[in-house]
Symmetry: C2
Subunit: 341 residues, 2 copies
Amino acid sequence: MADNPIIALDAMGGDFGPRVIVPAAALVLKEKPDARLILVGQQDAIKEQIALHGLQLSENLQIHHAAEIVAMDEAPAQALRKKKDSSMRVAINLVHEGRANAVVSAGNTGALMATAKFVLKTLPGIDRPALMTTLPSLMGHTHMLDLGANVDVGANHLFQFAVMGSITAAAVDNIENPRVGLLNVGSEAMKGNAQVKAAEPLLQNSGLNYIGFVEGDDIFTGDVDVVVCDGFVGNVSLKSAEGVAKMITQLMKEEFTRNWLTRLVGLAAMPILKAFRKRVDHRAYNGASLLGLRDIAIKSHGGADAYAFSNAIKVAMLEVEKSLPQRIEKHLETLLEKESA
Amino acid sequence: MADNPIIALDAMGGDFGPRVIVPAAALVLKEKPDARLILVGQQDAIKEQIALHGLQLSENLQIHHAAEIVAMDEAPAQALRKKKDSSMRVAINLVHEGRANAVVSAGNTGALMATAKFVLKTLPGIDRPALMTTLPSLMGHTHMLDLGANVDVGANHLFQFAVMGSITAAAVDNIENPRVGLLNVGSEAMKGNAQVKAAEPLLQNSGLNYIGFVEGDDIFTGDVDVVVCDGFVGNVSLKSAEGVAKMITQLMKEEFTRNWLTRLVGLAAMPILKAFRKRVDHRAYNGASLLGLRDIAIKSHGGADAYAFSNAIKVAMLEVEKSLPQRIEKHLETLLEKESA
């Protein structure tokens, strides 16, 4: 393995393809000139963007040609079977062949999940990879999984998510015993659905720093490091939070642009509003990890801009530095030994 | 039935009991002097607050004594069996006996659900009442159910929620064919969990204005009038939205109070920030309906202040005016006839 991690970028993925991926690579190289990035995709389109941004190909910025593109709405099974020369597939292959240490894609989520699972394989004890992201909180950030990869899960899957989430948070945040919470509903009569009730004892006996049930609002307080839930709930929670944040931003904009007086005040308040926006900028949190694979794969938001995509690349670099899959595998081995003992 | 609706208020419920419920009643009477409110609970405690707020008992503001109180953390079954003279139970009884047209309580949600179901009974075809609330959106507001009353539900329950939600939105918003959406996850490989997939054809053939799947962020855009989901997902979605809104408010406050200069700008921006806050003030949306009962029961947030609780009373008055349970019953009868036909 090289001293500096090699990251394969699916240059054709996402809503904008190389128009975003190439300048994102440039942003990363500006900050980390030793990084080694491989742009995978149609070389003419990539070269055009490289020229447009005044970049030079080098050991740190390479192109690996791939002729096909997985469409954003293509059926995952179709992409997996038919698009063997797609930028997504070839980028994943590079990781499998040891020619890259991680892959980052803003492409079709389902196709990425299916292809990554097929090519890279899951770790022993893991049924399907889970999607984990980082969200801002009052005290810093919170990790949350699953976010949509697994919608019908049992208690044992929630347990797997908790283990993988805890190891990841410990590694990337340099904390010893991340607080793990199980997402549940509030003060209702029947607390929790069937899976959550069944997962509770597993987590209590897991050896993790399990702090019990948490509710939707706890994600943003900083009182928990890893929030565990099924993919359906996680996806709805994340999108609800995004939706309300967008609405608030829009309503605030409306109030500040209501008339010339409010516009004037808005002008004076601009640096404050900018500082505020920076703290809740979702682009800073772009890059969800596909956990449970033998290698590192990062999913970027499809609509990411260059800044957002550059953050997804950095997530990949950090996970390579921390040898995340190896850490998770080691922990799972211990758990599986315990079970069979 | 009286010309003006009679609302029974659980005066001991919630975090603050009569200290909030009595001034809330006063707020309603100030705006609607013809309203008829019955304060149910310990009469000494209620009278103390009536005196404190300089109010007079009258035909419009009465006290109905009840000696016991259901604790906020009491087991619902326990409250139902043992607390037969609680303010909550007696207020519900008044509705059952036809002495009030609706009940409003900020008390223990589980106990309220269980007691209301036991005393008031559900409508034919409804298994359990659902909890529905209104949320702000960019275009006005959105109705959402279930919010935690039912955590393990099947497709038929989601269908019942859709029917009840549609009728309610049509009645209270005076719109003809409310757009009904089924909450689902995004562009993932396996779209939807088992219940959602099974509910989809039921909704397509329901005769409702069913617009298909919606995602968490659609709740706040104004593109849908009624969002249908199971209680687990609904509760997490609502709490996640609340959590991120609270975080955003807190971070904005931090930026505006960072130093004397930002404080000065904050002072100038005060009217704008106030106007903005008013538009996202969750107190304006207090009052969730227990739908599917033979009578009207409204759940207020436990931590509601007088303004928030007064809005829950107004929700009750509106539903009485619209004869909501009768409307729902009529529609359900038609559906049941169709099924058996």
